[in-house]
């Protein structure tokens, strides 16, 4: 039985990539570390369970990366996807540190592999975890345990004792009662609030009821809320998040990667009025993948339908849920609860607007529509080969960006602008510092590993000095 009367050097709240990197980095500097994971053991690690890669800068190709990805290129990508909504100093720091993470994380037991089948476009920039995110997480837990990090599961933190920006202790659920842990420093790495529908409703309204949550139901943001309530500075827009279009038939929580759809560029997307609402061929798919969650969230009923035909049904990754089929558009529409006449009209006008071109989904090709609003700028081909197929999609929320403000030491900043004496944060709980909006694949894990490692190091230094 763990002795909770002693005072730990570092208390880490959370159990994902950021939390474990913090715990390991602190432990390696000689700190006495306790990790409180709110989820049961199987669901440990929050969204890390569902990840598959990390975006790290590197100056040369490696065994698993096909070419260099410089700090500058990474920075430009970040500026582009966030439209400048980033703390440039922290972003630069993160990108610089990400280079070293490529080898540091391997020293913690994580193994890389070349990009997975169907993800060739990420082969140069993103390093994939052998066996996926849960394998990565398992490796970090094995390393942490071997080093002697204390870990408690089902240990949801319900209160934080913070005085004048100084952390004193945390109260958490244990068995059927409550317990308290004292520590010289705190690393908050407990994720965002995406699974807290009530909180989402505060800024999204009733629409949030129709959101599906891609990760576990344990990412409720309670630690974030406590910190913000005790004088920690807030950063980010509460409506900003990583959200993709996922199958409407997916479970409410934890459907993970397999409910996503990659087929948008191969067809058209209509809302419940059977009307198109956005250019499906705007840009190369991986770059635009993460805008469709928000787009669908803005549609009536938060539902949309990807419509395509038999000629492209094998052009993208196989899906968990099979497409809904109809021999004619008129036969397909009622299965989607769409007005057949409206859908026929939308598809007829789309087909009429398609210009001839040479289809190539790997480049911005010349297959486009003319005189159509909104246009389909690339990969536009007529939808005319039966059977006609459809996937219903809803917004799938991966993680929220609203978070706690930190400085370059991953130290929390208080509302008066001063850094906290002994509180640090890493991972999605502070992602908003770097990600004001938008997303580029693998960045969540970069934020987690880089700031986790920094937070653990700084916390250990503070606690043991």
């Amino acid at each position: 039985m763990l002795d909770l009367s002693r005072k730990f050097d570092v208390l880490v709240i959370g159990g994902g990539n950021a939390a474990l990197c913090a715990a390991i980095s602190a432990k390696r500097l000689g700190a006495d570390v306790l990790v409180l994971e709110g989820a049961p053991k199987f669901y440990r690690g929050g969204n890390t369970r569902h990840t598959r890669n990390m975006r790290c800068a590197h100056d040369a190709a490696t065994e698993i990366l096909t070419g260099p990805y410089t700090e500058d290129e990474f920075f430009e990508d970040l500026l582009r996807v966030t439209e400048g909504n980033t703390d440039q100093e922290l972003a630069r720091l993160m990108i610089r540190e990400s280079k070293d993470i490529l080898t540091w994380i391997v020293e913690q037991g994580v193994r890389w592999q070349p990009s997975l089948g169907g993800t060739l476009s990420l082969g140069r920039t993103n390093s994939f975890f052998l066996g996926g995110g849960r394998a990565m997480l398992n490796a970090l837990y094995r390393t942490a345990e071997a080093l002697g990090v204390e870990i408690l599961y089902d240990a949801e933190v319900v209160d934080l004792d913070i005085k004048d920006g100084m952390f004193l202790s945390a109260t958490f659920k244990q068995d059927h009662g409550r317990a308290s842990a004292k520590a010289a420093t705190l690393v908050a790495a407990a994720g965002g609030f995406e699974a807290n529908i009530e909180w989402l409703k505060e800024s999204w309204g009733e629409a949030a009821d129709n959101f599906l949550i891609r990760g576990t139901p344990y990412n409720r943001g309670s630690v974030l809320k406590m910190l913000l309530g005790k004088g920690v500075q807030e950063i980010g827009d509460p409506t900003q998040c990583h959200a993709v279009a996922i199958d409407a038939r997916a479970p409410k929580f934890d459907g993970g990667i397999i409910t996503r759809h990659d087929s948008v560029v191969f067809g058209i997307v209509v809302n419940k009025n059977a009307e198109r609402f956005y250019d499906e061929g705007e840009d190369i798919w991986p770059k635009r993948y993460a805008i469709w969650g928000r787009l669908v969230a803005a549609q009536p009923g938060q539902i949309a339908y990807i419509i395509f035909d038999a000629s492209v049904r094998n052009s993208f990754m196989p899906t968990l849920f099979p497409p809904i089929e109809g021999g004619t558009i008129g036969e397909l529409a009622p299965k989607l609860e769409l007005d057949p006449a409206a859908l026929e009209k939308t598809i007829a006008s789309f087909n009429a607007a398609v210009r001839p071109g040479t289809f190539d989904h790997t480049i911005l090709d010349d297959c486009r529509t003319e005189g159509l609003t909104p246009p389909k700028s690339h990969w536009a081909r007529k939808i005319e080969t039966p059977p006609f197929l459809a996937y219903p999609v809803r917004p799938g929320i991966t993680f929220t960006y609203l978070g706690t403000r930190v400085n370059k030491q991953a130290r929390l900043l208080m509302t008066d602008g001063r850094p906290s004496v002994n509180m640090f944060a890493a991972g999605e709980i502070m992602a908003g510092n770097v990600l004001g909006k938008g997303y580029a694949a693998g960045m969540g894990m970069t934020i987690g590993s880089v700031f986790g490692r920094i937070a653990g190091r700084e916390a250990a230094r503070h606690a043991t000095s």
Partner: protein, 372 residues
């Protein structure tokens, strides 16, 4: 014919896995799966036999139980694999042996030992059975060499025939192209993959056994077992050549090739099976086809009995227990031979065939092949 329940489940899982693909670096099963978008029964039997049951994909899966997607690839494929062996068994009348295998092996072993002992007693006098025999030809005081060779040769040939018929059925079931089995590059690749147990390493960390700490113990114990078995087989082969080509009769001195090979093989065949039996008893039941673990145990046990009786015979061959020990050893070996096509032994054959198929597919998909 309605699809077997377990194949329907395997189909469901492969659909889940094919939309995820996180495990593609762990072994051959997932890359083979990615070459398909739909899965026939033959495809699933192929994947089931390609699976080395390392358990890594279960430990790494974010959708394994208690998740509602309930993804348990190792156990599902283990059950499908065992079913498939039953379907391939030749002749089909003996297929039932798969289901009741543990018991069947014991009965057959016991019967054959008894037949040997009674056979000797009937053919020779009592003195021969319990007497002390030494020097060249001593073993054949109990049973003439030619009788022994004929009996075991026949049992062995039968085992080969039945195994080949099973492999043929498997090759057909998985829809492999006819005549391509002579592709030497694929055969060589499969041989390397099989001999190193390339896919029994959880993608590099080792097998998952009793908990979430991977180890390489199972692979090492399997190596002891497999190479021990090969050494023993080599010992017997060399001895047979000695007998017929050099007219040198067993028993041989301890330093002679058949004894050296047999002793080393015998020791390995004690260490390996004990390790495998231990691993089996400790293995997390969620990963295996518990209903049929008796089949595995019976085969490993027979290998262990073969080595133990063989080593005992070597140590005690100059004493009066040589007769009964020889009878026992021969009985065990005979039983092992004739049950080979109906027990766990076939896993190696079908897995090798699956690896050949996989190597062929990889070569077909290699540079220039269309990608999605």
């Amino acid at each position: 014919m309605p699809r077997a329940k377990i194949l329907a489940e395997a189909d469901r899982l492969m659909t889940v896995c094919n939309s995820c693909r996180y495990c593609e670096g762990l072994c051959a099963v997932f890359p083979a799966m990615e070459m398909r978008r739909a899965f026939s029964d033959g495809d699933l039997n192929y994947l089931a036999n390609l699976c080395h049951a390392c358990g890594a994909c279960y430990a790494d899966c974010q959708f394994s139980p208690p998740h509602e997607f309930n993804v348990n690839v190792p156990r599902t494929l283990a059950i499908a694999r065992n079913n498939s062996w039953r379907a391939y068994a030749w002749p089909q009348a003996f297929a039932g042996l798969f289901a009741r295998n543990g018991v069947a092996i014991s009965i057959i072993a016991a019967l054959s030992v008894a037949i040997f002992i009674f056979g000797f007693a009937a053919l020779t006098d009592h003195e021969v059975l319990v007497g002390v025999h030494t020097g060249p030809g001593a073993f054949y005081a109990l049973m003439p060499h030619n009788a022994m060779a004929a009996l075991f040769g026949a049992a062995f040939l039968y085992a080969i025939l039945a195994c080949v018929m099973g492999m043929r059925a498997f090759w057909r079931d998985i829809g492999a192209p006819a005549g391509m089995t002579t592709d030497t590059a694929s055969l060589w690749q499969a041989a390397k993959d099989a001999c190193t147990l390339r896919y029994l390493d959880g993608g590099g960390v080792g097998c998952f056994n009793e908990d979430d700490q991977p180890t390489d113990r199972r692979r090492i114990d399997h190596h002891f077992t497999f190479y021990g078995f090969l050494l023993c087989f080599a010992a017997t082969s060399v001895a047979t050549l000695y007998h017929y080509l050099l007219a040198r009769e067993a028993p041989y001195p301890w330093w002679d090739l058949p004894v050296v090979l047999g002793t080393l093989g015998g020791i390995a065949l004690v260490i390996g099976p004990i390790g495998l039996l231990l691993a089996k008893s400790q293995r997390d039941p969620v990963l295996v086809d518990s209903a049929r673990s008796g089949m595995d145990v019976a085969f490993i046990l027979m290998l262990l009995l073969t080595s133990v009786t063989g080593l005992a015979l070597l140590l005690l061959r100059d004493t009066a227990v040589m007769g009964p020990l020889l009878a026992l050893h021969l009985g065990v070996v005979f039983a092992l031979f004739i049950t080979l096509p109906y027990g766990k032994f076939v896993h190696g054959l079908y897995r090798f065939v699956a690896l050949v198929r996989y190597a062929l597919e990889r070569r077909a998909m290699a540079p220039g092949a269309a990608t999605e």
